[in-house]
Every structure is written in C-alpha cells, then in structure tokens.
Symmetry: D3
C-alpha cells in the first residue's frame, strides 16, 4: 500500500525528517511518499499561518490522492484534516489525532508536550475539536527555536524529561505525546528514560492509516464526509478545481 | 468608523446582499466596505470548500485591515475567524459567532436554522468551537438551492416558520438564528411571524464590531492572538507575505 | 437612548463610581440613569446577601423600566439578570455577562480577577450558569477591604498585575476581566501595564446594552422570557405588583 | 428532631398539601413545622416570581432556623437553597435537589415531569446548577391550571402516565421525578402504575434532611458556605438584619 | 431494619473497622450485618484487583440480600455497585457514592483525599461514572502502607490536614471526603481540626441506605435496573446461579 | 504475531463466530487464538452478568497473556478492559472501544446500533467511560433473541437498515457501529446497503491490536496501568494468583 505524508510547512528538511520516521514505522509492504506545502511558512506557529496551510495541504492532497491508498497529515495541528477526509476517497488521518487515539488505547489520560507557548492554546482547541477533552490530563510547553528543534535536538532532552515528569506526577498523565515535527524521532530516543509510553504522531499515524486502509470502509455517500457535490469554482489550481467543480459544468 | 465585510464565497451578488443588510444595521457614522473572495467557490457548502476559503478570507483581510477599524466575516462558518483575529490589530467578528453571542444576551438557549443537510454537522462543530454547546437548544435544516436562497426567497418562508416552531416547541429554543447569507435579510422580514427573537449574523455582527471598536481594547502582545512573530514566507500574495514575514528578513 | 444602571448594593458611592464609568463608555446619544438598591447590604459578599439583592434589583428595575430603553445590572453576580430580562420588555444585560461575552469576541479563554476568597465559588457558578465554562481559563482572587476597593485603589495595583501575570502565564488566559465594582475604573488605568485586554463589566455592559437596543429584537411571547402571565400577588411594592399581577384581577 | 418546611409561594393551601406529604415521610421522632412566604405570588411560575421568592424564603428561614434542626425548601426551583444553606447553621435541602440525588442512588438517568411549558427551561437550568446534567435523561411537560394541580388531580393521571412512558421508552429514564408541589402526593398514588421509581421532592427531602441532621457535619468556617461575615444592613426585617449585620456594629 | 455491609477485600480486620463505624452511624432500630469477600486480595489497589472484586462482592450480596433491607458496599471504588443494584430488590449504595451525594447537599464542590498514587486515576473515573465531575474540586493523595492505614493511623494526621488545607485553599473544595476504609473512623477524629465538613463513606452510606429503605421505592420492572431476565448459567456459586438463571430452566 | 480473542460469555458458538470474523480481518502473519469464559452466562445482557464476566475474562487473559502479543476483548461491553490492560504487559483493546476509535478517524459523530433495550444504558455508560460522548450522535436498539442473533440473522436486516437510516437522518451520525457479537459478520454483509461506514468491533479490534503490537510502546512502570504491585491473594486460580501476589510472598 502507498501512503502520502503531507507536510503543510514549506520546509523540505522538516518533511524529510518526518518521512524518515514514517518509513521506520511503516509495514514491509507500505511505501511512504511525501509532499511539502507549495506556499506558506517554514514552520507553522501562528494562527494565520495554520489557517493558510489548509489550502496548501489540500492542494497537495488533491494532486496525489488518486495514486495513494491513504494520507497522513504531517502537521501537528492536523491541518485541513476534516476537509481532506471529505474531499478524497482514501482514508486521511492527522498526526496528532493519531497519537491521541493511540494513547486512548494505552489507557488513562494523556499529556501533551508542545514547543511554543503562543501556539499552545491551539493544541487545546485541537483536543476539543476531536472531542477528547475528557482524556487530556494536561499540557506542558518547552519553547524551542527552529534550530534547536531540527538541529540541536540534544538540548531538548532535559526539558522534555522534566515536562514528562510534571505531566505524570502533577497532572496524572498515563501516556505522553511529543507534539509535532519535533516529536517525530525524539520520542523513540527518549522513551527509555520515561516510565510511561511516549508517542509521536508520525509513527502512530502511519500505523493507523495502514489499519484504515486494511479496514476498507467505503466512502460515505451521505453526510458531511461525502465527496464535494460540485460547485462553481474560481481561481484554484487545476487539481483542486477538478475535485470541487460541478461534474457537468 | 469603517467596517470591512468579507465574503469568503466568490459570488459578488451574495456579498451585495450581505452589504445591504450590513448598511441597514450600521450606525450613522459607520461606513461599510466589502470584499469578495478572489478564489474558491460560489457558495461554500462542503468541508473542503470551507477550508480553502480560509486563505481567500485572510488575503482579503490582509489587503484592507490597515484602512478599516474592524472586520466582520460574512461567511456562516466564521471562516478564518481566529486566524484573522490574530493576524490584524483591529477587532474581527464572525457572523454566526455574533448571532450566537447576541442570542446569549436575549436569554436561554438558541436554535439554529440551517440550509443544507450535508453541511449541518459543520455548524454543530462551530458551536462547539465557540464553547457554546450549553446554549444550543437544537438545529433544524431546510435544504434549499442557490436559486431559492438568493432569488425565490418566498419559497423559504413556510419551511422556516415550521423549523422555528419545532425549535421552540420541541427543542426549547428561546431565540432563533437564521444561519448564513440566507438569513441576512430574511430574518427581519419573518420576525413578525415568529414569537421569539429571530437573528441574522450580519445585523448582529455589525452591531458587535461597532461595540468592539468603541471598546478599544489593545492588541494582545502575549498569547495566541498576538501578531505573527515573523517567519520565512513562500508563495503568498504580497499583502499576506508582508504580514507574516520576519520583519528583518 | 436611555440606559438604567442598577446597583443591587445599598451604597450610593458605589453606584456613583459605576455611573461614572458607564458615562465614559456610553455613546454621545446615550443617557445613563442609575438606581441603588433600597434594601440589602452595603457591598454583597455572602450568598444570602446576593440572594436578597434579587428582590431589590427587580424592584428598582420595575420602577424605571418604562422610562428607559435598556438596563445594565451593575452587580458582579449579574443579580436577578434572568428574572429582570423576563419581567420587562427592554434589553437587560449583566455586567459580568457583558465582560465575558466581549472577552469571547477578543478570542481564546478568559481569566477572572476577583476580590474576595469566600465569594469566589459564586463566580465559578456564574460562569457555569452562562454556559461559558469552556471559555474560562482560571480565576485568581485578591482579598481587599471595602476601604481598599473604593478608597485606596493604588494598593490594589501590584496584586492585580500579579494575578494577571499568573492567569496569562499559568492558566493560559488570553483576555482578563476585573470583576465587579472594583474593576470599574481600575481596568482602564491598569490596561497599559497588561499584555492582553483587561475588561471591566460596566464598560462592556454599556456597549452591549446599546447594541441590543439598536438590534431591536422583539419581546418574546413564548418561552421563559415572555412577560409574567399574571398571578395573585401579595405584599410586594406597587410597581412589582403591577408587573406580576393578573391583568384582570 | 424538628424540620422546617418552607413554601416560597404565598398560598397556605399549597403549604398544607406539602406538609401532609412531609409528615407521612417523616420518622416517628421528627416534627414537621412549616411556613408560607409572607409576600410574593400564589404559585411561582415566572422567572421574576422565582427571583422575588428568594427573599421571602430567606426571611422565613431566618425566623425559624434557631428552633429547628434542619430545613426543607418546599419550592420546586429549590429557591434560595444555596443562600439559606450558607446563612444558617442547620442543614438545608431543596425538594428537587433531594429527588434528584435520591434518583441517583436508585440508578441510571432520571426524567423530570414538569407542569408548565414556560417554566420548563428553569428546571433544566436547575439540573445544570446542581451539576447533574449527566444524569438527566429528559423532561416532559404537562400544562395544568392551578385548579387542576390542587383540586382536580385525577385529570392529571393520564398525561402523567403518558409522560412517564415517553421518558422511559424514548429518553431512557430509569427513575422519574414528578416535580413540584403537584408531585407531592401524586407520586405515591401513581407509583403502582409506573414500572420505575416515581419520586416526589417532599418525601425525598424529608428523608435526606433527617439523614443530614443525623450526620451532624459541622458548619463550615471557611468558604462560601460559612456564616455571613457581618455587613452594613439596610431595610431588611429584624431577623434577616440580625443574621447579616456586622456583630459589632 | 437490617443493612448488609459488604467488604470486597478479603481482610476481616478491615471489615470489622468498617462495621464499627457503620454501627456508630446507624439508627437505633438498624442492625448492621457484614460480609467479607471470599476471594481476592487483602486491600484492593490495582485495577485488576478491583475488577475481580466485582465477583466477590456480588456473591456475598447474593447470599445475604434476601435477609436484609438494604446493602452498603464498603469498598472505596463502589465495586459492583450498579450490578448489585440491578441484581437484588433492596436498595444498594456505594460508600464513595454516598459520601459524594452527601457532600452535594452540604454545598459547593468537594475534594477527595485518597491514599495511593497508582489508584488515584480510578477515583477520578469513579466520579465521572457517577456524573459528578462538575462537583469535584480536586483530589490529593497521601501514600500510606497497609500498616499505617490500619495500625498507625496517627502518622496520617499531619498529611491529611495538609491535604485538606490544599484542597480548600487551592482547589476551592467546600467539603472533603476521606476516601475508603482509611477514611472510616479517621474523618470523625480529624473533623475538629478541619474548617469544612470531612466525610467518610461508611457513615454517609449507612444514613443514605436507611433513607432509601424508608423511601420504599419499588424495584423497577423496566430498564437496566430490572431483575436479571434469566439466562443459561455456568460455573457460578449456587446463590448467584439462582439469581441469574432462567426461572423455568 | 499472535492475538488472543477473549469472549466473556460462556458460549463457544459465539466465540467461534467472533473468531471467524477476527481471522478474516487479521493480517497474513497474524494468528488468532481464542478463549471462552469458564463461568458466567451464555450471552451477557444484565448488569450483574457483565460484572461477573470481569473475573472470567481476566482469568482467561491471565492464562494466555504470556504466549500472545496482544489481546482483543470480544465482549461488547469491553468487559474488564482497563483491568486487563493494567494486569498484563501486552496491548489489550476492547471491541467496542476499537469500533468507536476507528469511527473517530472516519470523521464526525458515530451512531450505535444495539440489540437489547434493557442493556442499552450500559452502552451509553461505556461511551462515557471512554470519554467519547462528544462523538456520539445517538443509539438505536433492536430487540432480538439469541436465536435471531446467532441463527436467523436475515430477520435482523430490515430493522438494522431502518435503525441506520434513523441514526443518519435524524441523529446526524456519519459512521455506524453494529454493537457486539451480533455485529461481527453482519456489518460487512450489510455495508453495501448503508451510505456511511458500518463498523463491527471485532474487525476494528484486530486491526488496532495489530497496530498497537507494531507500535511497541513499553509497559508503564508508573501510574494505574503499571503491573500489580503484589498483594496477599486468596481463593483465586493459580494463574491469577501468580499475577497478583506479592513476588516475595
């Protein structure tokens, strides 16, 4: 099976980091292909940047969806998740959604470790949007620079272990999620030093997209996840236009 | 004061309908200016269409925000509301948000009248995203065509009155909101035949943007609603790039 | 337009402080009139004091409602809000309700700064009663004396700034509300030293009552906010009796 | 032990109905004494009437609390419950609170049968205020006149049985509460025809006040349920003044 | 009346401690009888131990239910509460359920003091399962050994008082519950040093079982609390088999 | 990999039905092994029957856990799920949990189709216990006999399709779950006639246990999902005793 990993950021080096983690997680028969947002910002942090990335993510998915069996959205905000899920007829999973649902199956409430104070409220809203507030034990934030997150990862070890300890000991978390691109790769390395499961969204996401592909549930033909009904379209790329326009127009 | 009304749909005729209602609601010293999405679909219905409109709405707001005192998002899904609110330093309100908060001040729980079965789950998610589920009495949907919604509005009278009656009598709604562009204009006309307040988002939105402008609260400099911190930007329009790019880059 | 500001406390000096803030917030065509509770306590703190003030507030509103266009309840507990809203046919808003809804439109979750530990649970219950718990980031309490709150306000500056910092930094508040009579006046003064909007209920309340008056929604004739249906009344003041008694009795 | 039953309505005949039910429920060593509101309306239905009754209920409780061991508030809205509980040092229970908590111990979710459409939203708010929404299966309303409720009770049998059947069969209720004065007396009579427990607030209330008296928990000296701290009081009856005024003033 | 106290642990000495507290709480006409789990562990701490105790508790209740008027489950997790309540036709109450509902009637939100960090999440789940999260102020845990909990109780005094202070001062608790067997006996002794009610589940449970017995609500014949409909049974004790098997099989 | 399917009912024919569905869902390298409860009832319906099955399920898991890589609990109530998850060091998933989490990834809110009115409240409680109430659109119940559920399945087709239509059209469900053993097998057959995904817990469960096995998260050593700490054990089977007893006792 073929899984598309979409990075809504514009940075190829981030995509490659994620793709490496995805390949490690994938089954022997799974091929990971990937795409980076064509426009937007290097690493989404601000609400406006996340909002604009919805377009970039959808465009990439529209380009590739016909040649893959499933899609993993490799942006920590699960950017454009519901839109993509409704637009194409293969399974689509968000990386943070994947980590949270995997955490649910490991038991108890989960804690999130995030990497930017100003965007932390967005993760709370993300948990709410998935209807999972009852499973959230707490969130802890470590402010890191882009350089730290993708170059000098060792500098993040101590603060992550500290955050883990606080989430477990003070907030009652029984599983931990290292959110975002920073978590991909780091989680596996730090797991031996943490007394509860330490999850990253890319690993969880690949496994769950594979599970959904094998499940083979049909595309809904009713409800808000049915394909676009066809509309008058203006100013979008050819692939998006093709997916949204009225079929007889 | 000057208020920008942004329509995330690409249809100028819808924008003009909304602008007319907005002008009627505005105070004597308020000027209403408006903008239509440069790309996207004629009337947003599907999740993918709503998601893409975030970009179109933000682009229009980025163009005009320096010359207005406040922004009203004239799309029923409050498209790009939080992103816009964080991106610019004038108040931004969503039309459905406005109607719901006004309904809160009229008392009790509100009912929503929507106009497309497939997109009704999106309004439930919208209420949830505003944290207002405890104030939602129910939703009723009337499926209408574009022609009906913007041309033959009389055909909508009977089903709206029926929906109103069900929301009040069965669901316990004490205020009603006619959602979306369809509601703008219709609510005022039908109010005399409905025993509880019948609100539309454009009228409520203009009044609340005016209130926020007069409040004059400062732009936050901490948290997720502070201005974008500056990033590496790629492939966006000049106005958006200017708002998101690192100031010294 | 004419707005009645009702203080459910018996202290005229508190009413005058509130009225001053209200006049500053009001539009050029708005006249603020005010009334102080005829019976009760100087400054409501205890549950029993708040409960008794419902009668005092309703009596004052019954006296003035025919000669004003809207009512702002100037008691931090939004005392008798729903009862007054249902009893008269002009809009009625509570000061804390107003601040919370305005905070919703500024984005994110809000924090409350309150001024008496024993009454802090009442504010939590108030937020719950408005269905806004999902928007509450946290509450911080500063215990002040009546003398401090209305005479030596400078002594409150440092603890309020400290509370603000904790609400933003620890609880994730993106807007702050200085609750009650103490907040009226103080908020504007301290705003320059706080990095997020700092709201007071009187300013917000005047703006929102004005918005509701201009909205002109009709009085409901069904539901729990319709006028009193008429009853056998005993032992109430003439104005209250007149509003509650059966019209043909 | 001595229990005060307070009726916040002004109608002695309602009080006597309630007192009869209370005496039947009371233990052999329990004396039931009762008091009717000195002012207000015959039978509370409207929000303003409920709000004013808070004063009347508190006044009656202030008069009697020193000579009883516990108080049962015999108004379906649990009028002034929290205020009274904080004002006096004997246990205070509301009749609907009592029925709901007893229902919790019988298992599952409960259904409410209410008797006036316009006031039904108030019961929903009451359940919310007790934090018991997760235990509410549904509400059904039968509109009855005062004459029916207290004179021709047989006319209520069929609609109550119908409401019971709908609450059990459609809403999943596993216990039922016949709300208010109408429920007192009726519940016991109709129980044989209903397949799940059918509770009334007076019976449940007497039993739970007795349990609280025997528990003998001390009056809190911290928090919002401690006695009033003492205040400047104006225009209240001697008994209320005595309870609220500063002890050394 | 006769009340069965069931201890799902296998330790007779714990049962005896609980029975002593129960006798002190019971009315003059109440006889307390008790039973200890026939199999399982000495003191339930782990999820698996709690789960297995469901069988032990049900078996004991099946043996005694015909000769008692009500049952109090004397295990802090309210082990097998709903199953027992449905299986027999006398009232069944859980000790922690009892303490929480009693706390509701004392007002405000309650705090829990628990005695083992690893099992604290189970108490949070217990509160959720009773639908009482809105009434939970917080939980504090003191890790004690079996020897401390049942032998050297004085060593627990200081940490319990500290936990109480934190729950009141930081979490806003207005009533406290000392959870489990450890709480039985301790609560009464420590009450004089705590400024809010300090409840234990056995005392509360006896009082509430007595109230339910006197209420005399009938056994439901519909819903999930009706008696078992009769099934093919295998490998259970005679008393359990008799309660679950098809009556004509 | 090897997955144990545990049926908490005592009926081998049900186990075999489930095992067949499990084998169909399993990957080529997965071996499905299964176990039937040694004691209890033929098909769990009543609360007491579900409670007793916890012991039976745990015993079977204790016997097999050392020789498998993961466990799927094949009882619709996810019987003993948390206890088993904590007791053993391989992943454990409940069949209804699995279907609900898979439904979450397909989007929107899900509807449950259940097969016995008296036990339907238990499924609502199950959804609550997983913290997924925000994702539940509704439940519909079809009462079937054991013979129908496992012999004459065609008689269930029409009512299931009707229930599906009501859940989609009236309750807004976007995915459906056919609950329990009855769902296993039926879902796949009926899928072509239903316009949204129709899930069964066994198929979903096998896929998610496989995903968890491949994830390889470590057994927690802190919190409520760590292994049992060791206790004094009495009267349990050797395998359970071995897992729960103190290692040095």
């Amino acid at each position: 099976m073929r899984i598309l990993l979409v990075n809504g950021n514009t940075s190829d080096e981030v995509t490659e980091t994620l793709a490496g983690v995805a390949r490690d997680a994938a089954g022997p028969d799974t091929e990971i292909t990937w795409a980076t947002g064509a426009f937007g910002v290097r690493l989404i942090g601000h609400r406006a940047e996340a909002s604009l990335a919805e377009h970039a993510v959808l465009e990439r998915i529209a380009e590739h969806a016909d040649t893959v069996d499933g899609v993993l959205i490799g942006v920590s905000g699960d950017t454009a998740l519901r839109a993509a899920r409704a637009m194409v007829d293969v399974p689509v999973v968000g990386m943070t959604e994947a980590a949270m649902l995997m955490a649910c199956m490991l038991g108890g409430r989960f804690g999130l470790i995030t990497f930017s104070t100003p965007s932390t409220p967005l993760y709370r809203e993300l948990v709410e949007s998935h209807g999972l507030m009852a499973r959230l034990a707490g969130m802890r934030t470590i402010d890191v620079t882009f350089a730290q997150a993708f170059g000098e990862r060792d500098s993040m070890t101590a603060p992550i272990l500290e955050a883990a300890d606080a989430l477990i000991g003070e907030d009652g978390a029984e599983t931990l999620i290292v959110v975002g691109a920073a978590g991909a790769g780091l989680a596996a390395n730090l797991q031996p030093r943490v007394p509860v499961p330490l999850l990253d969204g890319i690993t969880c996401g690949v496994l769950l997209v594979e599970a959904l592909i094998r499940l083979g549930a049909p595309k809904p033909t009713r409800g808000s996840y049915a394909l676009p009904p066809g509309n008058l379209v203006k100013g979008l790329s050819a692939v998006l236009t093709d997916r949204l326009k009225a079929h007889d127009s």
